[in-house]
Every structure is written in structure tokens, then in C-alpha cells.
């Protein structure tokens, strides 16, 4: 009995439980209700897909200092009006401003206000928000701005890593730095999500990724989800089940 229990504790469940996927227009949406939860103003539903047609991840998550965690950023209406956070673009010039007639566009509660039609024609994907953003960018279908301040002299490290899977019937995963650099700054991932130590990859287990660590920081709720097995394990034979 103890032996069986210990074996379960050590090995853990063998099946991966992928989180259920929402409708494509709801994928990547974030309900921001840090200060509005108990007040008279409705929460904001932020849509990633409507923003990433125009801006790369690094603009908001590096330059504007938005956290990768829901409600992890101390966004206030006052800060927005001073040109921080959302207000860096939502100032009435670049995008609609923080004025009374526009409140409802963001403060609409738990509903999607952005129009999915604007991404409908982009290269499609079976998973996530339904858009293959890598292809959309490569084909020039979108031209997202990489910086608000013109700071785009990032390091170009064209280095694709091969990460062997723990199980011998699962083919290796690949990690292309170049694809990620088109959207992100080195500092978005290094060193806090991925330390730069070689041979420390045994931590990137699917279980940890599914728990929202490592690749799962983005590839679970915003970037293409983990159901899209072959995007990372390109030689996987079986079509994953939906």
C-alpha cells in the first residue's frame, strides 16, 4: 500500500490535463478588476488579440511595465490620465482617450468589446484566438509597432534550441529565439522566467508549463495554447485531440 502511494506521489498523473479553451474571441482576454471589483465602475476586459495587431508584446510588457499576471499591475485611472499604462496610448491621439464618452469601451465588465472582424482575415490557427500570429507577422498582414520610444536596437540572437523530451515516444521540442525576438525583449523572459544556465531545462516539464510556469507564462492563455502540440514538437505524428 505504502509502495503504491509513494509511487503515485513520485510519478504523478501521466495524462496532461490541458485547460479548456474558451471561444476564440475570448482567448487572451483578461478581466482587470483590481480596483473595480467592489466599486460602481465596471471592470475592464482587455483583449490581447485586438492589441497585438498593432503592438508587439514588449511595448506593453516592457516599456509600459504591464505585469504578466492578471491584476498584477497597479493601474489607476489617475496614472492612465497622466499617460502611464493604458494612458500611454489611450490619450485621445494614438487611441481613444480617457474621457467620459469612451468609458464604456473598456469599462464594460466581463464582455468582449473589441470586434473580432478585424482579425478574421489574418492567417488562421486551429487553437487559441484563431490567428497564427507568427505567420501574420511574417506575411506582413500586420505591422505591429515594436517600441513607443523608438528603442528597437535589440540583440538579434538567431539561435534555435532543441529540447529533448523526457519520454522517448515524444519528439523533441524546438525553441526559436528569432520568432520570439520579433515580439519580445530579452528581458521579458530572462532571467526571471528562464535563467540563462545551460542544461537547466529539466525544469521545463509539461507539468510546470501547464501550471503557468516557463513557456506556460504566455503559451496557455495568450500566445498559442499548449493544445497546439506540433508548434513546439514539430515532428509529433499524432494529431492532438481537440
Amino acid at each position: 500500500m505504502h509502495l503504491v502511494l509513494a509511487a503515485i506521489l513520485l510519478v504523478g498523473p501521466v495524462r496532461f490535463h490541458l485547460p479548456p479553451l474558451p471561444a476564440r474571441e475570448a482567448y487572451g482576454n483578461v478581466l482587470i478588476d483590481r480596483t473595480t471589483a467592489s466599486g460602481p465602475v465596471k471592470a475592464v476586459t482587455f483583449s490581447h488579440w485586438s492589441h497585438r495587431t498593432r503592438y508587439t508584446c514588449r511595448v506593453c510588457h516592457l516599456e509600459l511595465d504591464f505585469s504578466f499576471e492578471r491584476n498584477g499591475t497597479e493601474i489607476t485611472e489617475e496614472a492612465n490620465r497622466k499617460g502611464r499604462y493604458c494612458g500611454a496610448c489611450h490619450d485621445g491621439k494614438t487611441a481613444f482617450g480617457h474621457t467620459a464618452e469612451h468609458c464604456d469601451k473598456c469599462h464594460a465588465g466581463d464582455v468582449v468589446t473589441a470586434d473580432y472582424k478585424k482579425v478574421d482575415a489574418l492567417p488562421w490557427s486551429l487553437y487559441g484566438d484563431g490567428v497564427n500570429w507568427t505567420r501574420a507577422l511574417a506575411a506582413g498582414a500586420i505591422k505591429p509597432l515594436a517600441s513607443l520610444s523608438g528603442d528597437v536596437g535589440g540583440i538579434q540572437l538567431d539561435r534555435t534550441l532543441t529540447i529533448e523530451a523526457d519520454w522517448n515516444f515524444v519528439p523533441a521540442a524546438i525553441f526559436p529565439h528569432a520568432e520570439h525576438e520579433r515580439w519580445l525583449d530579452c528581458a521579458n523572459c530572462h532571467p526571471s522566467i528562464f535563467n540563462v544556465k545551460k542544461k537547466s531545462t529539466r525544469q521545463f516539464s509539461m507539468r510546470n508549463i501547464l501550471a503557468g510556469e516557463f513557456c506556460g507564462t504566455c503559451h496557455r492563455r495568450v500566445a498559442f495554447p499548449l493544445n497546439d502540440c506540433r508548434r513546439c514538437h514539430p515532428t509529433m505524428k499524432n494529431e492532438p485531440q481537440l
Binding site: 516592457l62 540583440i155 539561435r159 535563467n195 540563462v196 510556469e213
Partner: protein
């Protein structure tokens, strides 16, 4: 029984391995620009029922070089590593070297709160107002301190007649490059000149960096862990996440 013990050992070992490289995997909160480089000093404060001191590097480095405090005045580079006492300050040591009414406000009953401010709402120098005219940086205080000094926005005081012994400056070495360990990653250019303006020689040599070429071996891991360059670049000077500030020379 032996079997059970064996499994317990195995279980503990596997649990320990989970925590071996735990400093990765999730995104950490970045300090706000006005929090970056702030240090809470609490050697004796709370034991004496006084609020701990919140020391802000950004405020002090807008006027003084790093060297003045960390070499001439003798502050450790480690939080709470100095063991500052109120009576030392009043004798003109440590904070008291400047906070004596001559260079900066003195330690008096009316001014206690200005430093012993942890957990209190205290009026202090406005970060935005102080730094608004400085060249912008990408991380840390969002200030490019190096350019701020070059542009003359920051005029550093490097010596105080009471504590410093003036001597002839040494000729500075030329910039040199350090090979990155990963193919395709730009080489690092290290400039003695840029560092010496703030730190002199003594802040780094010979404790942190030996002076024999190539004899101090360190990796990015060490730097991220707060050693070598990471002693300053991470907690006070621009953090190591600002890759392009050091990795500048294309291969």
C-alpha cells in the same frame, strides 16, 4: 520498515531537487522606478522603537559619486552590512559625514522622520520632479545615469574635505571586450572610464575583480545572483536585464 524508510529518503531527495534551481519559472514583479535602489536599513532602529531608514540611491547619486560613500565614508555594499549607529552619525561618521547641517540636513528631532521613514507617509524629494530632466533609461530608475552625468545634469561630488584624502588620479585603462559564451551573442564592452567616474578604482578592485587579466571567472548566472557585475547591476545600477547596455559589440 526498511522499504518505507527508503521511499521516504527517495521522496525527500526528489522534493529537494524540485527546489534546487527554483529561482526561475515565473515572472517577478519589477520595482517601480522610484523604488529601484531603495534600501531599508534596520540594524538597530526597530530594537530602539524607531522606524527603519529608507535610503534611496537615486536621490544620493544625483549629487554624490558611489565612491564617496562606499569607499571614503566606508558604507558596505550589502544591506545592513555597516551597522550604523545614531551616535556614530552624530560623531560625523557614516550618514553624519554629510547629514551635519553643513552639506545636508542634520540629525535633529525635527528631521528624524526624513530618514527613519519606513512605513510612514513622509514628505520627501519628488522622484518625478528630480528625474524629469534626466536622459531616459530602459530599466531601474528609468534614468540613464551615465548620460545624465556626461550631459552635466548630474554633477558628482567625489570627495569631502573632512573624510577624503585627495590624490592624483590614475591613468585610466582603455575599454576592452569580453567574449560572450554563447555563439551569436554580441561581445561585452567594458569601459573603465565610464565606471571610474562613479566608482573610482577601489570600489571594485581587488575584492570583486582581481586585477590579473582573465583571472576572475564569472558567468551570467553569477551576475544574476548578485555577484561580480551583479553586485551593483541589479539592485542599484541598471539591472543585468538591460542586455544591450553591455552586450554591444556585434560578432
Amino acid at each position: 520498515m526498511r522499504l518505507r524508510l527508503g521511499f521516504l529518503v527517495l521522496f525527500l531527495l526528489s522534493a529537494a531537487s524540485l527546489f534546487a534551481d527554483q529561482a526561475a519559472g515565473t515572472k517577478k514583479r519589477r520595482p517601480l522606478p522610484d523604488e529601484f535602489g531603495n534600501v531599508v536599513i534596520n540594524n538597530y532602529s526597530q530594537k530602539n522603537n524607531v522606524a527603519p531608514v529608507v535610503f534611496s540611491h537615486w536621490l544620493h547619486r544625483s549629487k554624490y559619486s558611489c565612491r564617496l560613500c562606499h569607499v571614503d565614508i566606508g558604507f558596505a555594499m550589502e544591506v545592513n552590512g555597516t551597522g550604523i549607529r545614531e551616535e556614530d552619525n552624530r560623531k560625523g561618521l557614516y550618514c553624519g559625514a554629510c547629514h551635519n547641517g553643513k552639506y545636508a540636513f542634520a540629525a535633529q528631532t525635527a528631521t528624524c522622520d526624513r530618514c527613519h521613514s519606513s512605513g510612514k507617509e513622509v514628505a520627501h524629494t519628488d522622484f518625478a520632479a528630480l528625474t524629469s530632466g534626466y536622459p531616459k533609461g530602459r530599466f531601474g530608475n528609468n534614468v540613464d545615469w551615465e548620460q545624465a552625468e556626461i550631459a552635466g545634469k548630474v554633477k558628482l561630488i567625489d570627495t569631502l574635505p573632512e573624510v577624503s584624502v585627495k590624490r592624483k588620479p590614475l591613468d585610466l585603462q582603455k575599454d576592452y571586450s569580453i567574449e560572450a559564451k554563447i555563439d551569436g551573442l554580441p561581445q561585452i564592452i567594458f569601459s573603465h572610464k565610464k565606471h571610474a567616474v562613479w566608482s573610482g578604482c577601489e570600489l571594485c578592485h581587488p575584492d570583486i575583480f582581481s586585477v590579473k587579466t582573465g583571472s576572475t571567472k564569472y558567468s551570467m548566472q553569477d551576475i544574476f545572483a548578485g555577484k561580480y557585475c551583479g553586485l551593483c547591476h541589479g539592485s542599484v545600477a541598471f539591472p543585468a536585464a538591460d542586455c544591450q547596455r553591455c552586450h554591444v559589440k556585434p560578432v
